[in-house]
Symmetry: C2
Subunit: 136 residues, 2 copies
């Protein structure tokens, strides 16, 4: 299950996607419209900025906005930044790989199954983008 933090992040990204090209949006506005705790949201957006998904502008007329067209950022990208690995086990994670103790990957049945699961999940998350987060 995605953490609440990640849900907040995706909700905020959806909101910003709907306003892409319309200038900066205040954190306070996103917080209010999407019912996300303000200070928590600050941290989340900052994190997304540091990973080049968002850009920001300070002072009056400032706020946050997407660094690229909503189609350019995949959900896999976004989720990895905020939530970490997409795979169900570290030993099959592409971006957060960790060898598991007491287990030989070459012979481990669980490893193979989880790699197949990761591939299926990732196929969707690499295809879907921030644009798909816009509410209809």
């Amino acid at each position: 299950m995605l953490s609440k933090k990640t849900q907040y992040a995706l909700k905020a990204l959806g909101y910003l996607s709907a306003r892409y090209g319309q200038g900066p949006v205040l954190i306070a506005e996103i917080s209010k419209k999407k019912k996300i705790p303000l200070k928590f949201l600050e941290n989340i957006l900052l994190d997304l900025k540091k990973h080049d998904v968002l850009q920001s502008k300070k002072g009056k007329g400032g706020g946050y906005f997407l660094a690229n067209h909503p189609k350019k950022t995949t959900l896999a990208d976004a989720i990895r930044i905020v939530d970490g690995p997409i795979a169900m086990l570290s030993c099959v994670s592409l971006n957060f790989y960790e060898r598991c103790r007491d287990c030989n990957e070459a012979t481990c049945g669980l490893n193979k199954v989880m790699a197949a699961t990761r591939d299926a999940t990732l196929k969707v998350l690499l295809k879907k983008t921030l644009e798909d987060l816009i509410d209809s």
Copy 2:
């Protein structure tokens, strides 16, 4: 990511699958071979028994064994018992559904995307069974 508890459960189920039809296996044996804390494993196996994945026998010559052929239990079944929902959000979970506050599912972009992700993941986990957990 799967909890450690779930990893332990799947490792244990793989071990029991390899010994299917060969009589009961001691918790202590599984614990030792798969390096799973004994008392923790007790709880996990008991849980799987209560959900009819395992059966047990007490006293000398006792132990745990699969209730059905390893092919009969899907990984989706096993994971749901120990870990809970497979979906990334409760609002798209088939077995652990919860409506999310402050969000209209009919119009929510996130909901649609996560439903698609769930379908892809589930397609694999419903096809794979305990038999696939047997180490080669």
